[in-house]
Amino acid sequence: MNYPVWYLPETGGGILIALIAIFHVFVSHFAVGGGLYLIYSEKKALREKSEAIMDFTKKHARFFILLTMVFGSITGVGIWFIIALVNPAATSYLIHSFVFGWAAEWVFFVVEIVAAFVYFYMFGKMDSSTHLLVGWIYFIAAWMSLFLINGIIGAMLTPGIWAENMDFWAGFFNPSFFPSLVFRTFIAIMIAACYGYFSAAFSSDEDIREEMTSFSAKWALAGLLLAIPAGYWYLTALPEPALALVMGKSPTISSMIPYGLVGALLLMLVMLVTAVFRLQKNLRVAAVICLCCAFLVIGSFEWVREAARRPYVINEVMYSNSIKKNEVAAINEAGYLQSALWIENRELTSENLLLAGEELFIQQCYACHTLRNGANDIASLTSNMSHRALVKYIEKIHQIRYFMPPFVGTSEEASALAAFLVGELHGKPYGKEPQQQAAAMGALLFEDHCSSCHAADELVDASHGLEKQEIDTMLLTLDEISDEMEPFAGTDEERGELTSYLHRLGNPEAEAAALPPDGALLFEDNCSACHGPEDLAEAAEGLEMAELVAMLRSLDEISDEMEPFAGSDEEAEALAQFMSKPMAKEK
């Protein structure tokens, strides 16, 4: 809201971040672990006085420099570029809060560059102890980069007390700092060993192929096995909502975890078979498989870590759509269109309803949802919903789905957003429902005929306990109540609307009780965000009413993403009835 939104409706910024970030972490963890790998590979060559291993180490160092110095470092800058474009408010917040952390990371980046170049170009030209020392300087500088970035991105997931006091050190050494650091260190070693395995497998020297794939495999297995308890430690450091998302509440995370697990298991298996037990010698294929597995492990980990922050981009501080948590109440009061900076349609009118709705979509939904295309297309996600159902859904979106931020703004703005989504995208009606229209008409008539002398509140008692017929008669004989009033002179229809309005004022419970629960409406309000009526007809087939009601009351047992139906017993029955024959009902 403070910054403009770079709007590519069919692509979305999230996918661009993911593309750059996942490839970056795959190489940047290599840049950390690879330093250690090179040192121990060189030490092995020195210990065994092996020219061949030294030669392999040098060639691997060249591959290392080409990959980490170019692709690794530039995609690192690339992440900074893309997050500043996609989420400038959060980027600015992190840059300003942790500027000296970033600046210190820059110092280690300079040291890394110098050390990497000296290490590579001075191979064989420097005495080996100095050369190894340069290797250690490289590794320590690279690990310190990890140390610093780990502190800052950890604060985004587990801010702890930093969310309140903004103290640099409290944010940096946040609750997940150490588990994450240890976990990443082991993963970095594992990834670096997979790259080492890859280099060795493609060596033209058969002895090196055997010797160094085995050496690499032991490093990879050690890294992977040590990462398991570190990963568990990391999980225990997560706050309860994030842990719930990781354990099944988030569909994004649930769909990604299996890839990481399969990657880890396959990696372990291939390393054991080809390098430790040496049952199979088709090393090049194994090397490619191992790299792909390592990519799956780190990719799914980063994906899960990012998704576990939802609905926040900076946990407890700023929602994914850049709205700060502590500003929500004020914006709800003043209206989003009035509060945000980059808005064209500040006043809602019937003419600009869809345009304002689109602006609200861009500012509040586009951070995660694309339009008409892409992975999280809002058009397909809302295709079952009516305007009425969508408004209700938007207003309680954060309660229904914790990982989505709350809609921030007035109810008229929520209605405008829903109007854009159902009207513009699906061509469905988005005007007020007949009941709402009648209520609006009654309020308008009250405004025109009564409000010069009476406030609506004053008439609550006057109409309490009266039947509609009595109010209607009273409106025709107002002059009998007071000389100052004239009988209501509008049309019969208008009198009917005003009568209903006044009756509702004094007797809200009677009004509500008069309407039996409507299964179709209940379905729209509670189910249509995810299900079409025909889908549920299948699920309900063959079930008795009592079984259906029981199922509605225990939806959380079917899926972690659902909550049990929370309406009254009458409503549960009406909904069950609708579900059992929705198509017939529609007809």
Partner: protein, 352 residues
């Protein structure tokens, strides 16, 4: 009056003077490395295409240095970009988004160019006559990045253009049609060419006692390039000055005493540097030219604050002080520099 769209800045943890100091300390380093890269590339291409063993040797030496230079262009660019985001985040994030679809292209273009530079270096001999064409592609890609940077750095100083966002939300707004753009961009690039000449002289001096021909040739070519393009750049510099909007131009012509003194100092340094260059006193030329680059970056900073002063001045940034992280950074910097000095010394010892 038209509505201005300027975001609220975030708070800063130390006095803004610290960030301005660090920005002005690191930005000249980026410029010097960028100059060595652009100027070096142009000279390498020309020398390589020119043919002959010494020219070819010079091109090869530049090719060898190029990946290292690019690494430092990037690294020395990171620090000033960080500090400019701290000081002027509300402007630079906005302008980056306004040109987002181009701005993000900087990354793939840079990766491509960087690998091209490694190709030119590692395969210099194998590429043969094809080599200079690879270098030319690298040069064009790097110039494209410079073009996008110039667009962004100018656009961030023009907040009255920010409302254009509503007509193009897909990040395709550039500022090259602004009267100041082309002289600004060309001044920077011709300056890079000139400084690249001095970089080439330096490269010739590495192990110059082993290859006297190369040393003499690189000094001749480098100083010629420096003198020629510095003279041309004086003309472009005046074009740049004249292209500035009135108040900004006047800033250096008497309206602001300090800015005017800085401008006079820069003009004096230009005279001195040309004198040293023409009389072939390399080290004096290099020292004066580096000083001139530093003075020019000060003038550039002045120009930016002048553009923005109606909307924002740095003292408006809200300070929420916490100085211990600054101390941590300074200690890290000192240790890092000591480490680098040790490694360079060990390298020199090993090479001797």
């Amino acid at each position: 009056m038209e509505t201005l769209f300027i975001p609220q800045p975030d708070t800063i943890p130390a006095h803004w003077g610290w960030f301005q100091f660090l920005l002005l300390l690191t930005f000249p380093l980026h410029l010097l490395a960028m100059n060595a890269m652009i100027g070096g590339l142009v000279i390498a291409i020309a020398q390589h295409l020119g043919g002959g063993p010494v020219r070819r040797q010079l091109a090869h030496r530049i090719a060898l240095a190029l990946p290292l230079v690019i690494a430092f262009v990037v690294n020395f660019g990171v620090a000033p970009l960080l500090f400019v985001q701290v000081l002027y985040g509300q402007f630079v994030y906005t302008s980056s988004i306004l040109m987002g679809s181009y701005w993000i292209l900087v990354i793939p273009i840079l990766i491509l160019a960087y690998y091209g530079a490694y190709l030119y270096d590692f395969k210099f001999k194998a590429l043969g006559a094809f080599g200079p064409w690879i270098a030319l592609v690298v040069l064009v890609l790097m110039l494209a990045i410079g073009f996008f940077f110039s667009n962004n750095m100018l656009l961030m100083a023009l907040p009255e253009r920010f409302a254009d966002y509503f007509a193009a939300q897909n990040g395709t707004i550039l500022s090259f049609r602004h009267q100041e753009f082309w002289p600004r961009f060309l001044h920077m690039m011709f300056g890079a060419l000139a400084m690249g000449g001095l970089f080439v002289v330096l490269l010739g001096k590495i192990k110059g006692y082993e290859n006297k021909d190369l040393r003499i040739h690189s000094e001749k070519v480098g100083l010629l390039v420096f003198n020629l393009f510095t003279l041309i750049n004086i003309g472009i510099g005046f074009w740049y000055l004249l292209s500035l909007p009135g108040p900004q131009r006047q800033l250096f012509l008497g309206a602001n005493t300090m800015a005017t003194l800085l401008f006079i100092l820069a003009m004096l340094l230009v005279c001195v540097v040309i004198y040293f260059g023409v009389t072939r006193r390399f080290w004096a030329t290099l020292a004066t030219a580096v000083l001139l680059v530093v003075v020019m970056t000060f003038m550039r900073a002045w120009l930016r604050s002048s553009y923005l002063q109606d909307h924002f001045t740095l003292d408006q940034l809200q300070l929420v002080p916490q100085y211990s992280p600054l101390v941590f950074f300074l200690v890290t910097l000192v240790l890092g520099l000591a480490c680098i000095a040790w490694m360079i010394r060990q390298t020199m010892l090993a090479m001797d």
